[in-house]
C-alpha cells in the first residue's frame, strides 16, 4: 500500500495529528466548564481565543512582540557577528585559539542568567542590558560550533585544493570557511534558541522598559489575568516555531549541499 495518500488508512494517518489537537481542546473546554473551574486557574480555550483576538485587535500583542523581536534580533546579531568572527580567527590561528580557549572553557558552563544582577549594576535595566545578556548567552554556542567546524575541515579537500594550485589564503577562503558553514549554522540555531529564552527572561527580571512579551507575561500573571498569560504563551510558541522554520529555509538557501549526505 505505497499509495497511502488516497486510501482510507492514509487519510486517517494524515488527519490524526489535527484530530488529536481538536480532541484535546474539546476535552479541556468541557472539563473546565463542567467542573466549573475558575478561569484564574485554567481558562477554557474559547476564552483564551477571545482574549488573544482582543489583544491582537488593540495592538497589545503586535507592540510587545515587535519590541521583543527587535531585542532578539539585536542580541542575536551581536552574538552572531562576534561569535563567527572569533570562531574563524581561532580556527585559523593557533595563538588566538590558545588565548581564547581558557576563557571559553571557564565562561561557557556558567549559567548566563546568573550574570543578570551584575549586568543590572553595570548597565542598568534598559535596552543595553537585555541585548548584552542575550548576546553573551548566544555567543558561546556560536563561537564553539564555528571553531569546531573550521577545525574539522576534511583534510582531503584541503589537499585537493592545494594540488589544484590554491595558496594558503585561497584554501582558507574557498575551502575551510565554506566547509565549516553547516557547523556554523548549527551554532547559529543554538544561539537563536537561547537568545529567545534570555530576552524573554530579561524582560521579566528587573526591566525598566515596560514592554515586551516577557513583561506582558509577568504583568498579566501578577494581576491573575490567566487568559492573557495563555494568549501570550501561544504567541511565543508560534513565533518560536516560525523562527525555526525561517532558519531552516535560510539553511536550504545558503547551504543546499548539506541535504546530500555523501557530498563528495
Amino acid at each position: 500500500m505505497k499509495r497511502g495518500k488516497t486510501t482510507f488508512s492514509g487519510m486517517i494517518e494524515r488527519a490524526a495529528p489535527a484530530l488529536v489537537i481538536v480532541a484535546v481542546l474539546a476535552i479541556w473546554e468541557l472539563f473546565v466548564r463542567l467542573r466549573g473551574i475558575a478561569p484564574i486557574y485554567l481558562p477554557p480555550p474559547s476564552t483564551i481565543a477571545v482574549y488573544l483576538f482582543r489583544m491582537l485587535a488593540d495592538g497589545t500583542i503586535e507592540f510587545n512582540l515587535g519590541v521583543t523581536l527587535l531585542r532578539i534580533f539585536a542580541g542575536f546579531a551581536v552574538a552572531a557577528i562576534a561569535g563567527v568572527t572569533l570562531g574563524v580567527l581561532m580556527g585559523m590561528s593557533r595563538i588566538v585559539a590558545r588565548i581564547a580557549d581558557p576563557w571559553i572553557a571557564a565562561l561557557y558552563p556558567l549559567p548566563k542568567i546568573a550574570l543578570i544582577p551584575l549586568l543590572v549594576i553595570w548597565l542598568g535595566t534598559g535596552e543595553v542590558y537585555k541585548i548584552v545578556i542575550s548576546a553573551i548567552t548566544a555567543f558561546f554556542p556560536i563561537v564553539i560550533s564555528t571553531y569546531a567546524g573550521i577545525r574539522q575541515t576534511d583534510q582531503g579537500l584541503v589537499k585537493a585544493a592545494q594540488d589544484l594550485g590554491a595558496n594558503r589564503r585561497q584554501i582558507q577562503m574557498k575551502i575551510v570557511i565554506p566547509a565549516a558553514i553547516p557547523s556554523i549554522f548549527s551554532g547559529l540555531h543554538l544561539g537563536m534558541g537561547v537568545t529567545v529564552i534570555l530576552v524573554v527572561a530579561a524582560e521579566m527580571i528587573g526591566s525598566s522598559s515596560q514592554s515586551g512579551m516577557g513583561f506582558l507575561l509577568i504583568q498579566s500573571g501578577q494581576v491573575m489575568e490567566t487568559e492573557k498569560v495563555f494568549a501570550s504563551l501561544i504567541v511565543l510558541a508560534v513565533v518560536g516555531a516560525l523562527i525555526i522554520k525561517l532558519q531552516e529555509w535560510i539553511d536550504r538557501k545558503v547551504a543546499p549541499w548539506t541535504a546530500y549526505r555523501d557530498g563528495h
Partner: protein, 270 residues
C-alpha cells in the same frame, strides 16, 4: 615530463617507538607519455608514493625530480606539473559541477567568463553537458568520477597522478570509466601514474605494471605491457593478456600472503 624517483623512503612514526616503513628505497623512472600502473597489496605505500610525487607529502628521504626529457638539466618544482585524481574524489560539495571543474583556473585568477567557457567544453567532452549547475551530491558515482577527471584535466598539466580512482565504482561504471581514461590518454599522452590493486585494470590500462611488495613497499618486478594502442576491452581475452595476468597474479599472490601474515602478527602483538 619524466618523473624520476630515487631512493624514496617513507617512515611513519608508530606507537611505542615502533616505526612503520611504508616505502623502502623506491627508485623508478616514470617516463614521459607513459602510462604506469602501480600494483600492490593494501598498505604497500603506493598511495603514499603518488602523494610524494605530487608534492603533497614529504618523503623521509630520497628525491623526486620532474624533468622534460628534451631538457634533462632543468628540474621543475615537484607538484607544479602534476595533478591528482583521488580515490574518494575530494570534490567540493558546495560547488556546482561547473565551479568544481573551473576551480584550478579560478585559483590562477582566470576571469570568470573564460574559465566557465573552458570548464563547459571539458564537461561536454566527458559527457556531462546539462549537469553544469548540479551539485556533486546530486550525481551518481560514475558522473562524479567524470567531474573529478575534468577538474584534473582543465589544468592541462603533463603528469596525472591517479590514486585508485575507480576503486569505489560498480563493475559496469568502472569499465566505462576505464574506456574514458584510455580515450583521454590516447588524445593527450600525459605521463600517468595509476595506483590500483586490480590486476586486470593495471594490464588493460598500463604500458608497464610495477608490482610492489607488501610493506615495506619496494619494487618486486616491472612488467612491460606490449598490447597495442588504442586499447580496448576485448584485449582482455587475448593470449598475451592472459600470460601477463598469470605472471602478475603469481607475483601479487605472494605479496598478499605476506601482507596477510603481517596483519595477523600486528593484531596478535597488539
Amino acid at each position: 615530463m619524466d618523473v624520476i624517483v630515487e631512493d624514496i623512503t617513507q617512515v611513519w612514526p608508530g606507537r611505542g617507538g615502533a616505526d612503520v616503513v611504508a616505502l623502502d628505497r623506491f627508485s623508478h623512472c616514470f617516463a614521459s607519455h607513459r602510462f604506469s600502473c602501480l600494483l600492490g597489496p593494501s598498505g604497500c605505500g603506493k598511495s603514499t608514493l603518488v602523494q610524494i610525487v605530487g608534492g603533497l607529502e614529504r618523503a623521509s628521504s630520497g628525491s623526486v625530480r620532474i624533468a622534460d626529457p628534451a631538457l634533462p638539466g632543468v628540474t621543475h618544482p615537484v607538484g607544479a606539473d602534476s595533478v591528482m585524481v583521488w580515490q574518494n574524489l575530494n570534490l567540493f560539495p558546495w560547488r556546482s559541477v561547473l565551479d568544481n571543474v573551473a576551480f584550478g583556473l579560478e585559483m590562477q585568477g582566470v576571469a570568470k567568463a573564460e574559465r566557465h567557457d573552458r570548464a563547459k567544453a571539458l564537461i561536454a567532452s566527458v559527457g556531462l553537458s546539462g549537469f553544469e549547475g548540479h551539485l556533486p551530491g546530486q550525481l551518481s558515482g560514475g558522473m562524479r568520477q567524470r567531474v573529478a577527471l575534468a577538474r584534473a584535466l582543465i589544468l592541462e598539466r603533463p603528469i596525472m597522478l591517479m590514486d585508485e580512482p575507480f576503486g569505489a565504482l560498480d563493475a559496469q561504471t568502472k569499465i566505462v570509466m576505464q574506456e574514458e581514461l584510455l580515450r583521454v590518454f590516447d588524445q593527450t599522452h600525459k605521463t600517468i601514474l595509476f595506483v590500483t590493486h586490480a590486476i586486470e585494470e593495471a594490464i588493460l590500462l598500463g604500458d608497464e605494471v610495477i608490482v610492489m611488495t607488501a610493506r615495506p613497499g619496494r619494487i618486486k618486478e616491472v612488467l612491460k605491457v606490449d598490447l597495442p594502442r588504442p586499447r580496448s576491452l576485448e584485449m582482455v581475452n587475448s593470449k598475451a593478456f592472459g600470460a601477463l595476468f598469470d605472471r602478475a597474479f603469481h607475483l601479487i599472490r605472494e605479496e598478499v600472503m605476506t601482507s596477510m601474515i603481517q596483519q595477523t602478527m600486528a593484531l596478535e602483538t597488539r
